[in-house]
């Protein structure tokens, strides 16, 4: 007995070192598995960001045709420039001036070089400054999606002509334009200044950004006061009984209900029963508020809980009423935590798509909403629409829109982290 114990504790024995090696190996195994798992997560994030950036960055520039052109007096009435024939003007600009000297004949479909919407760029320009009529000015007009892709090198010139979207001849003419210095690729302000469009070269995010902003505003105005009120009541005033237990369980469960169910609720109640309009940011904001409410309540309760009881006791001791204690002392001290939780909740709401789809915020709307009661899209639903669009140009625009959305989200989270670091006290 003694011998065997001694043998088992003989660290130099071969059995023991074999055993030790095995144990060390399993330690190493678990560690490498852990590193492997982390690397997979890291790799997935890198792949996600990498693919979005690599497909999205071309959308931040837009190929333009830059030409000197005469704003033809015959095509419009200086008194009423809005009704001028800008379609013809756009056509004239390509055929008459740009390809002067280029070797073209009538069969070349030159007008296709410009975006279908170039006439409206011209119209807006002349409308803003009617003095231009009859003058010769430099105009910058967006080119059509296929040529934009060609200029950005995303259209493979080596594919056989039959299955390429541009013919050899069209590419040749465009190359002549590039050589002649008629083509520029400035930053794509239209991505932020335009609303949605069927034509990728002029489609922008203005309507979606404003729609999202309105929806978030409504969501904040509803969920912030109600959430704080509910949290204060539950944390400071509610008697501990079955009803308050029920409310607590209920709130925790609400936080885990699938978002699409909130969409069904919004659709059935707000639109079906109350007859509110579809597709408007106001209804979207109300639906998002219902989802954000549990997040805010949970964060606020945690923040209130972290305020030490000595603060309350001191205030009560000098004669403050219970509500004076809460509103005068506890709430201000808990505010950084509450704001952090609220911002994180709003960031979630900003990225939420499914409920907005159900209440119709995926409609095709070509103007930015003026009020929260006008139809519009939101950023995530706009991403969904563009991801579904067949035109090649929308692939990079979808990625660009995602990058814009992620920028907003990262900014919001950074503000939340900043608030937490800067103002939160450790008691």
């Amino acid at each position: 007995m003694t011998d065997s114990t001694a043998a088992r504790h003989d660290w130099a024995s071969p059995e023991f070192s074999a055993h030790l090696r095995k144990r060390k190996r399993s330690e190493f195994m678990l560690k490498s598995l852990g590193i492997g798992a982390i690397s997979i997560a890291f790799g997935a994030l890198a792949l996600l960001i990498g693919s979005l950036v690599s497909t999205g960055y071309p959308a931040f520039t837009q190929t333009h045709l830059v030409v000197e052109a005469e704003i033809d007096r015959d095509l419009m009435d200086p008194e009423n420039p809005r009704d001028g024939n800008f379609r013809q003007l756009a056509r004239d600009i390509v055929t008459n001036r740009v390809v002067l000297g280029a070797d073209t004949d009538n069969t070349d479909r030159l007008t296709d070089i410009l975006s279908n919407r170039a006439q409206f760029t011209l119209r807006d320009m002349v409308e803003a400054n009617p003095d231009l009529i009859g003058e010769t000015v430099e105009v910058r007009l967006p080119v059509a999606d296929n040529y934009d892709q060609l200029h950005k090198g995303m259209l493979d010139r080596d594919t056989p002509e039959e299955i390429r979207r541009l013919s050899d001849r069209e590419i040749e003419i465009f190359d002549q334009l590039v050589e002649g210095g008629f083509v520029a690729k400035p930053f794509n302000w239209a991505l932020f200044a335009n609303a949605d469009s069927r034509f990728p070269e002029v489609a922008g995010l203005k309507g979606a950004i404003i729609g999202s902003a309105y929806a978030l505003l409504v969501c904040f105005l509803l969920s912030f006061p109600v959430g704080i009120g509910a949290a204060i009541y539950l944390e400071e005033f509610a008697p501990k009984n079955r009803i308050s237990d029920l409310i607590e369980i209920n709130i925790n469960n609400l936080a885990a209900v699938p978002s699409v169910v909130f969409g069904l609720l919004g659709l059935a109640v707000f639109i079906g029963w109350f007859g509110m309009p579809r597709s408007v940011p106001f209804v979207g904001g109300m639906t998002l508020a219902l989802m954000t409410l549990p997040t805010i309540i949970i964060a606020t309760r945690a923040a209130i809980k972290s305020v030490p009881p000595s603060i309350r006791e001191a205030a009560l001791g000098v004669g403050a009423s219970k509500q004076q204690v809460v509103f005068g002392h506890v709430l201000p001290l808990a505010m950084p935590g509450i704001l952090t939780g609220t911002i994180i909740g709003l960031a979630q709401a900003l990225g939420e798509t499914a409920p907005l789809l159900l209440i119709g915020m995926n409609a095709f709307i070509t103007s930015a909403p003026g009020t929260p009661f006008d139809s519009s899209t939101a950023l995530p639903t706009q991403i969904f629409i563009w991801a579904d669009s067949p035109e090649r140009g929308f692939v990079s625009r979808t990625s660009a829109a995602i990058l814009v959305l992620l920028t907003f989200l990262i900014t919001m989270n950074a503000i939340a982290i900043f608030l937490r670091q800067k103002f939160q006290r450790k008691w």
Partner: protein
């Protein structure tokens, strides 16, 4: 006009505050011993005006639409609506609304023009009436509040009881959201079961909801058996969990036990970023990168992989759930008392043995709770599957095939045509009801496990 009503409201609140404040100050200056501070008198008046008037405006805005619609519908000539279904009446109302909005197409019938005229008049008078009612109520409340100012009026208690009631109603809102979900879902589901037998829905093995909504449309006869849809959901959720669970658990173990502070400081935020990416982004990632990669991979090996295979949607969903599981597991491991860990290390166990044989078993309930919550997420996740999974319901468990899910069906059925009078749209609510019940059961179980487990060590 809504803006005017709100302006009146806020002016009245301000006036009420100032009036009572000054009245109380005047009393105090006159030598009265006031029960409450002047500010409480002001605040009392402000809330007395704000709460009922605000409620009135909201009530008006919520119900004026339906009321006006009802009045217009009643004014239409009875013979025009006779024998028409709900959908057709809705179409007529939509046309009247667009005429009233100034968008006239063709030459509408005279009775429609009359209806539009009535709609315009009613809308205008409703707006005026709302402003008038707001002003009247605000004035009345101002008067009531002002008349209560007296030396012995307990304004602070009055104010606090209003605030207290407001807070109670805020807490009750949370309950009302749940009631709203249950009520709206069960109401529409009940109507669905009036058209489609309950057992056909629960046990049916064929899902073809694209039935004709109008008579002239050509479509399938329709079948509403939910089993293939749920099978598809299960396939995708299983794929997701098979990816997320091992990776999430192993990264949590590594971060918790092996990584030093510097590594933790880098990797934890990375996982948090993964958790914060909106699901629509993951959906686009699935169709942009993962699905084409899987397809070409399958083509290389001669395996037929559908273009919207369950593997792509499930895989990306798995990536989305990694941070979810790892943060739950991390919390659970962290909640194990330090004495257990120290004891294990002190008798000579390696870190790996400590984690595998001491910490992990002790943390199992918390980890299981986290995994259950992740399952409920996977079942309810919408955007990834809407973008990357299929539309056709098949009775298959092959993850290489294209399957559809409950959430995909809900979204596709409700995008576009949504008159609540045919089994096609109502079936979405039935699916939503089942989805809600299943996730609710999983959530309740998970939260109970997590809670109970916390109590053991706290």
């Amino acid at each position: 006009m809504t803006l005017v009503a709100f302006l009146i409201l806020f002016t009245a609140v301000l006036i009420g505050y100032l009036l009572n404040l000054r009245a109380a100050r005047a009393l105090r200056d006159g030598g009265a011993r006031m029960h409450s501070l002047d500010g409480f008198h002001g605040g009392y008046a402000a809330l007395m005006v704000l709460v009922p008037t605000f409620g009135l405006i909201i009530f008006w805005l919520l119900f004026q639409g339906s009321a006006i619609e009802f009045l217009v519908k009643r004014s239409l000539p009875a013979d025009q609506l006779e024998g028409k279904g709900v959908g057709e009446v809705q179409l007529i109302m939509a046309e009247i609304r667009s005429i009233a909005g100034g968008r006239v197409f063709g030459t509408p019938d005279q009775w429609k023009l009359d209806g539009a005229d009535l709609l315009v008049t009613l809308r205008a008078s409703s707006a005026w009436l709302m402003v008038a009612a707001t002003a009247a109520l605000a004035a009345f409340m101002l008067y009531v509040a002002r008349s209560r100012v007296a030396a012995d009026f307990r304004a602070r208690q009055g104010l606090e009881s209003i605030v207290h009631r407001l807070m109670v109603s805020c807490a009750v809102v949370a309950i009302f959201v749940t009631i709203g979900i249950v009520a709206s879902l069960s109401f529409e589901t009940f109507r669905f079961f009036q058209m489609v037998p309950f057992w056909d829905f629960v046990l049916g093995t064929s899902w073809e909801p694209q039935i004709p909504i109008r008579e002239e449309q050509i479509a399938a006869a329709g079948a509403f058996g939910m089993l293939p849809v749920f099978l598809g959901t299960l396939v995708i959720a299983t794929v997701a969990m098979l990816i997320a669970t091992p990776i999430g658990l192993l990264s949590a173990i590594y971060l918790h036990e092996f990584a030093n502070t510097r590594v933790r400081a880098v990797f934890k935020p990375v996982l948090e970023i993964l958790a914060g990416v909106p699901t629509v982004v993951y959906g686009f990632f699935a169709i942009l990168v993962i699905a084409p990669a899987l397809r070409s991979f399958g083509a290389d090996f001669g395996i037929p992989i559908a273009s919207n295979t369950a593997l792509a949607a499930g895989g990306v969903m798995g990536i989305m759930l990694i941070p979810f599981i790892s943060s739950f597991a991390d919390d659970a491991l962290g909640a194990v008392p330090r004495s257990l860990r120290d004891g294990s290390l002190a008798v000579g166990a390696t870190s790996a043995e400590t984690v595998a044989k001491v910490l992990f078993p002790a943390a199992i309930p918390g980890i299981v709770g986290g995994i259950l919550l992740a399952v409920s997420r996977a079942i309810g996740e919408t955007m990834i599957v809407v973008m990357a999974a299929g539309l056709i319901a098949k009775m298959t468990i092959n993850p290489l095939d294209s399957v559809t899910t409950v959430t995909v069906q809900i979204v596709t059925l409700l995008i576009g045509d949504t008159a609540f009078d045919n089994p096609k749209t109502l079936s979405a609510f039935a699916l939503g009801m089942v989805l809600f019940l299943i996730t609710l059961m999983i959530n309740v179980a998970a939260l109970r496990i997590v809670r109970k487990y916390r109590e053991i060590y706290d």
